[in-house]
Point group: C2
Chain length 334, copies 2
């Protein structure tokens, strides 16, 4: 492997000049820069990342703590990961992948070893045990999610409460007066995953404000789970005509179950889905849906990490939900 010394020799300059030519931190004459770049190309020179991080105290690597566990909807997780990785590359950073199951220890290990410049942390719980650790670290953090207390840390997420309200509002606009939320599994609520709670809160608040009935039931992501949840809705609020599904895996199942029980979408009942557009486009009936802007949020997270590295203060940004009308919502049947 060619080193900076080799490049310097080949270009007939000092190593410092090569270094500066690369970093642009001091003016270099065009001619010199020319020769240096020629030498670099010829030798196939690449700076040694370790040496660089040792001398400069920055790694150009971002740690991404992701939940590779799969009680979450995997395609969306993956979209976040891809978005962060892509954005990181656009900022000339690489991504070190941390699995959430390593917990706080993993963060400390990576930070202590000076392996990364900053952290992006996904799947944040209301009182996440990683938060106190992250606050102590020398490296800045961006959370994807919104914990109870975010002081000192940047946060970015979909505005889940607004999302819940938006879903209800859409059904209200269509005249529905009894709506149900088929939500995430009980485990998601218990774990303190903030998005589950915030969405349900938005759902319930909007229903109350609109003066309609709203029933929220959690749902296990399986055929039987959906059947159980739907049965609950049919029992506790039998005249429900508007459904909000915040549980990707059961979307298809719900549609089949509704049809099987003689309810046509959108003639008899309306459905608003929350999830990626593919999910909404997949079924036979194209679903009116609210997307999860994972790409945008992931990119923002990296942007905000860059801001923190540039010395700016932590901030919280909530992305507004956007509803796409398709074919699954109609006026309430008389």
């Amino acid at each position: 492997m060619a080193t900076i010394v080799d490049v310097a020799k080949a270009a007939g300059v000092s190593v410092s000049t090569v270094s500066y030519a690369l970093s642009g931190r001091r003016p270099i004459s065009a001619a010199t820069r020319e020769r240096i770049h020629a030498a670099i190309d010829e030798l196939g020179y690449r700076p040694h990342a370790g040496a660089r991080s040792l001398a400069s105290r920055q790694t150009r690597v971002l740690a991404l703590a992701a939940p590779l566990r799969s009680d979450l909807y995997v395609p969306v997780i993956m979209q976040f990961v891809a978005a962060v990785a892509t954005a990181a590359r656009a900022h000339d950073h690489d991504v070190l992948l941390l699995m959430n199951d390593e917990g706080p220890a993993g963060l400390e290990r990576v930070a202590g070893g000076s392996m990364v410049d900053a952290f992006v942390v996904m799947d944040v719980a209301t009182n996440d045990p990683r938060l106190p650790v992250l606050r102590q670290l020398r490296e800045p953090t961006v959370l994807i999610g919104l914990p109870a207390r975010a002081d000192g840390l940047s946060c970015v997420d979909l505005d889940w409460e607004a999302t819940g309200r938006l879903a209800v509002q859409h059904l209200v606009d269509h005249g529905h007066t009894a709506v149900a939320l088929v939500g995430p599994p009980p485990a998601a609520y218990e774990r303190g995953t903030t998005y589950a709670h915030r969405f349900r809160t938005g759902f319930e608040v909007a229903a109350a404000e609109a003066g309609i009935r709203g029933l929220a039931v959690p749902c296990e992501p399986s055929h039987d789970g959906l059947a159980a949840s739907l049965a609950r809705v049919d029992t506790e609020q039998p005249d429900t005509t508007g459904f909000v599904v915040h549980n990707e895996p059961v979307v298809g199942t719900l549609l089949h179950a509704l049809k099987a029980t003689g309810r046509e979408v959108p003639h008899d009942v309306s459905v608003v889905a929350v999830g990626p557009h593919e999910l909404a486009e997949g079924p036979a009936i194209r679903l009116t849906s609210i997307g999860i802007p994972a790409d945008e949020i992931g990119a923002l997270a990296v942007e905000m990490a860059a801001d923190l590295l540039a010395g700016r203060s932590p901030q919280t940004r909530l992305v507004a939900p956007r509803l796409v009308e398709r074919d699954s919502c109609g006026p309430m049947r008389a």
Copy 2:
């Protein structure tokens, strides 16, 4: 941040002694080791990864090149990623995540910068443009997949051909004489993804050897795509009674479509699915399926990378498929 010098001072020894106490590359008296570890704990010392990699020429980081956006079934990809990350940690390595869309350049960048010790590469195409690059690198590579020529590189994958044969054999055992493969989308075949071809080959060979009819049709992963593929089967081989689905997203759709056209599973037709067990357990009918042992393969990949780093020669390992009988296969109807 405490450095090794601080630790040495605190323990009243030389830095080399601290270094050796940590690496275990030379004997240290129990008493000394004791004092050193006490000092380390007290100071919260962590070796600087960059300094270490500079001096030792190894990073304890593994690069994982993963397809983060594609027509592949995301949950399985994720399972591979999780398995590799977990196994890497078990080997005291971290994972640097590379997205396949960076292509060969990404590999060269990371290798050139001495950022990793080895590569694990997913989603390998028959004549993958990354292969020649990987062969040139100083760092060893393990491919998850099986390209046309694997010389110089280690490979690990499910034995897809055996998987295709196993699926057919199971249907043959139940007396079926006309079977159909609902396969991956055309794009997967065109991209030269090796598993798509190998599976179909196994399917076709086994059908031929058993003297039964076998029809393979690709399938777009959507409601309409499945409808089109099923229509093709119904036209070209109307008496088909055995289905093999090698296309996770349409499994549920296929089941509904069969029912909608009056075919009961397993009474009228049998179905063998290829994919994770959750997929097989999800639908109303529990599906007989052949799993994709992503955890095992991911762990093996890391194991094999460790082998290469230890100086052993590249090898190819194909994992045997395992079929789990559930409720979707019955004897052919008379």
